[in-house]
Amino acid sequence: MSKNNLNGLWLLSIAAIVTPAYAQDYLTAAHAQQAIFPDAEAYQPMLLKLNVSQRDKIQTLSGLRQRWEEQKVWRVEKAGKHVGWFIVDDVVGKHEFITYGIGLSLDGHVMGIEVMSYRETKGSQIRDAGWRQHLVGKTLSDPFKLDADVPNISGATLSCRNVMDGVKRLLALQKVALANG
């Protein structure tokens, strides 16, 4: 097999792995900032770098590991005054990959959490059997019709524990690495 073909195969398999079964984008960072801090006037971006000792402290305080050395943080300002922090974070669960934004007040309270993007990674195939016709006309005043838009998901309730753990970790990060003023 030629080298080119091999490269082609590699690309294929990687694409298959990262294609999520279900993916929805909700908000950009800018929109999430506005949703959580509607009165703020400026969001100053900074790339927070955490050293080993800071990451250890975050783990001690929250019981959760700060896996990455950098965290995207925005200083939120109103009338030139520092009023809070906005942080973008990722959590990876057994089934889900979620990017969310969180707003924190200067005294360490959660002002709001918005999921920015939601991906379910397990199971790449969409089953679409002909038997779904069974639904048509058999439901309460025929609520099921067929449509081709982006679908919504009904299913077993997926726990949001990963995001809640992320929140705990970010509250510790604020204590360890973000200075007010």
């Binding site: 079964a21 918005e114 779904r132 005043s141 919504n152 009904s154 077993a156």
Partner: protein
């Protein structure tokens, strides 16, 4: 028309609120999430100061509760009675023993009870025997109904709310719906309009990433994925538990008698094991 949607972590899961209107009404989306947060703080088993926990921890004394709590207790008691105990909101004690629900340090002598154990009078409630009520099988759907009401009160004519699979669609549009199967794949159910669908998955072992658990003292729930349609989300939510526990021969008729409809009628497809 464009759809605008938001997602926040609430009710222990991910809640999506969507509007099918030209302009994004920020206040309506916020009102929907607030309504859900309100139901969560009233009916959570996990916090010891919720209305539900105050009732469970009252030691048989009468407690005054929020009208929403009274209403859900009334619906839960009626569904417990009407389903012959297949839906049973009094199994809190058993779920604490199994480690599915937290122990707030009060000894529970009964693992489960009956509808009559709940006494309701005006805005007051009392437990006649030492049972623990859990509203996990109905309150999530009720929260969805409250969120829909909040959106409508804020002028949204069409939209949807999906609380971890308990989904209600309102207004003049059709929302396509897929179901997440046990193996993580997705099955197209069809389009939903002016109705609710709820899904419960019964596993043979407890999975913390999908923490819901169907329990019955007398029957073993049938492993698989159960989806029920109803007008309102609280009913669809409650009836998924009935579907998983019902005698297969009577399942369709029973769900219909209780005001719902199996999304996949028994016989049309064998539930995925």
């Amino acid at each position: 028309m464009a759809n605008t949607k938001r997602m926040r972590p609430l009710l222990g899961t991910y809640v999506e609120v969507g509007v099918h209107v030209a302009e994004m009404p920020e206040h309506a989306i916020n009102a929907a999430f607030e309504a859900i947060g309100n139901v969560q703080s009233l009916m959570s088993f996990h916090t010891s100061d919720s209305d539900l926990s105050r009732l469970n921890l009252a030691g048989g004394k009468e407690v005054t509760l929020h009208p929403h709590s009274i209403k859900v207790l009334r619906l839960a008691r009626a569904m417990t009675y009407a389903s012959g105990g297949l839906f049973n909101c009094t199994v809190g004690g058993a779920l604490v023993r199994l480690g599915i629900l937290p122990d707030h340090g009060v000894r529970v002598s009964l693992e489960s009870g009956v509808a009559d154990d709940i006494e309701l009078q005006g805005n007051k409630a009392r437990l006649k025997r030492a049972v623990h009520i859990t509203l996990d099988g109905i309150a999530k759907g009720y929260a969805v109904d409250c969120a829909v009401q909040a959106m409508q009160a804020n002028g949204v004519s069409a939209g949807w709310v999906n609380a971890g699979g308990d989904l209600r669609v309102f207004g003049n549009f059709v929302l396509p719906v897929q179901r997440r199967e046990m193996d993580g794949s997705f099955l197209t159910l069809g389009g939903l309009q002016e109705a609710s669908v709820a899904t419960s998955t019964v596993r043979s072992e407890h999975d913390k990433t999908f923490p819901a658990w169907v329990f019955s003292e007398y029957r073993t729930p049938q492993t698989g994925t159960w989806s029920v349609l109803a007008r309102k989300a609280w009913r669809a939510d409650a009836l998924t538990k009935v579907a998983s526990l019902a005698n297969p021969a009577e399942r369709n008729a029973l769900i219909e008698r209780l005001g719902g409809k199996l999304a996949i009628p028994a016989g049309a497809l064998t539930p995925c094991a």
